[in-house]
């Protein structure tokens, strides 16, 4: 094991897959000479040259569409979008083409494309640079959606995404880029498979499902619950939303009989709303309390620091939501 930062783990994944497969190329705004807005592509232009690391104009819909076209004709492009808010400019190509082409043309052609983008609040970037949109992509059949929360998962999932023959929306988190964690040192084939949740902490009393950065927040809350409230929480990080390892979540809920879902995105039509419906459909009889949801505030992300801090979940809200599931009904 080596301790590396999340952004370095992503960088390793890109480097290793580019070394391994000539058909992998990178496209994005300021990923080359500038080394990436968040330095994920640091040093890759120098190592692989302009043919394989391509700075693009600010034209999100077209660079994603070009990624689709190149993927249809034999390449494995990895497109970086500077933030998830900018992915909305590319929504046409992501939904109408990347997700649809394999099905729409009767399976004749594949779209092995990865579109990477960071999301998340906490840096005072205001209402157009701070949101969490994993639910928008979760909504779309044909896409795979990854939301890694640790450096190891970031690396293993990105490598798996690049090798996959489906279009993948790969959602990183701005706060996590600087976080350190253990990453296996190996021969370049460390992969994390899609559709396999991670149980971050085992417990008998309540299941907490944390999405993206909120998997970390859930873990911190679980520690508080154990230390101060004698509640042993089981913390699950789904790691990918499509496909979803629902079995691991259901097994846990059948054991604990309580569930709280934590996400940074908006509540209406969110990941938690979807997951709560699935759990209610599949494990209603096992629930001893209504499913709890902790979400980002239902509004555009404000700039002012104190306001921003109360507009997305922190540990106390998770603790509170968990304790609420133990209130006598």
């Amino acid at each position: 094991m080596a301790v590396v930062r999340y952004r370095e783990a992503l960088n390793q994944a890109l480097r290793e897959e580019m070394q391994r497969d000539e058909s992998v190329l990178l496209m994005g705004e300021d990923i080359g000479v500038f080394n990436g807005a968040f330095k994920v592509t640091n040093g890759l232009l120098e190592e692989f040259g302009e043919k394989r690391v391509r700075d693009t104009p600010i034209s999100e819909n077209t660079i994603v569409g070009m990624g689709v076209g190149a993927a249809m004709t034999g390449l494995r492009p990895v497109v970086e979008l500077m933030t998830i808010n900018f992915s909305l400019l590319a929504m046409d190509q992501i939904v109408n083409h990347a997700a649809t082409i394999h099905y729409m043309f009767g399976g004749q052609v594949k779209v092995p494309l990865v579109v990477r983008m960071p999301q998340g609040a906490g840096h005072q970037l205001g209402p157009t640079h701070s949101h969490c949109f994993e639910a928008l992509f979760l909504h779309v059949p044909g896409l795979l959606v990854a939301v890694p929360s640790t450096p190891a998962d970031a690396k293993g999932l990105l490598k798996a995404a690049i090798r996959d023959d489906n279009p993948v929306v790969f959602i990183e988190h701005e706060y996590l880029y600087g976080q350190r964690g253990d990453v296996p040192e190996d021969d370049g084939d460390f992969l994390v498979g899609f559709g396999q949740a991670a149980i971050r902490r085992e417990g008998e009393d309540v299941t907490i499902v944390g999405i993206s950065r909120m998997a970390l927040t859930a873990e911190k809350a679980a520690k508080v619950l154990a230390d101060e409230h004698e509640v042993e929480a089981e913390v699950i990080d789904p790691r990918t939303l499509r496909p979803l390892d629902l079995d691991t979540i259901l097994d846990s809920v059948r054991k604990t009989n309580r569930c709280v879902i934590v996400e940074e995105g908006w509540p209406h039509g969110g990941v938690g709303a979807n997951l709560a419906a699935l759990i209610a459909e599949q494990a209603f009889d096992h629930l001893d309390a209504p499913i709890g949801r902790v979400t980002g505030a239902d509004l555009p992300m404000p700039y002012s620091k104190p306001l921003e801090q109360i507009a997305y979940p922190h540990e106390p809200q998770v603790v509170e939501a968990v304790l609420a599931t133990f209130t006598d009904l």
Partner: protein
Amino acid sequence: MADVTQEERAGGSLPDADVAREWLEAMTLIRRFEERAGEMYAKAKVGGFLHLAIGEEATIVGAVRAMRDDDYLISTYRSHGHALSRGADPNKVMAELFGREDGVSRGRGGSMHMFDLERRFMGGYGIVGGNLPLAAGMGLAADYKGTEDVTVCVFGDGAANQGTFGETLNLAALWRLPVVFMVTNNQFGMGTALERHSAVTDLHRRGEGFGVPGLRCDGMDVVDTHRVMGEAIARARDDRQPVLVEAVTYRFRGHSMADPEEYRSKDQVEEWRKRDPIATFAGRLLEEDAIEDGEPERIDEAVVGRVDEAVAFADRSPFPPPESLYDSIYVLGDQLKGWYSVDERSAGVHRGEHERELAAAERGPESAYGQAVEQASKEDLGLDKGADEAQAEQDGAEKADPES
């Protein structure tokens, strides 16, 4: 209205007689295929939208015959003709319109979404302007792999106003991608006339600001279209740069079958019909003794027979079975586990197996599936009738069609 002078049009001499004859045949196939498709739409054998390319045949055949087999073609929602000219089986194109399993896209795409990978026909697309970035991506892949393949990207005058037009032309020029952007200027973006939707109506000039040279051809003349597209494709291939070609043409039918055509005058349509690309070309071939008297009629007869066969094939082809509903949403690899779909309501059943079971149960005559199949089978196409009778019926349908 943009037009092309006689001097410009006179630029192209005829190709060899057998080549010219084949062009006439290819254009006639599109014409007859489209007419039959419209007729099948009226008989409810074809659903959804149906956009016919009648009047635009020269833009299609002129462009496609200037391409190599290894070149890529990508088109719009008006793409039956592109698929046919590229060599797609008319049976399968008609079956796609009928929504059948034997369709080029297995009945998943329909009229707007034809596809034939083997012939490098990379699809028709329903989003206006959506195919330009894809074309640039195909150009990028060709450039990256060091092949000589050129991508020809066809779109309409309406698409020239989409953001992707500027974005993609800029990027293609910047990266020197071998793509020919061919704008089929049929004078209308749906029902909005060119001069009402574009400040600059010389569309071939709209690439200049992006460093993309522009050419214009007479899209009613297959010879001129072929000559100009040939030049553009050669420049893209040899000089490694995108080229914009404007083919000035006109569609004789409405935008789609659901178009009362209140935005243009019958006189205007009649004026353009005088320049019918098929009749004009056939006339020139006869005039220059490239074909014998009666040859256009013989070609037409053979093509009508071919289209009849396609209709019969399509009508015989089965609908996609209900259990195939979830096929090809994902490429299922070994590393993928978990629930793909919310509809997988039974734990432990993954990868669409359960959906397939559910869908298969929906096969009965009372089900929505069964009723749709019954509805589509109601209309007897009279395929057992003699050829003359079927033809007479077809002529009648043509006259009765309010859009013709």
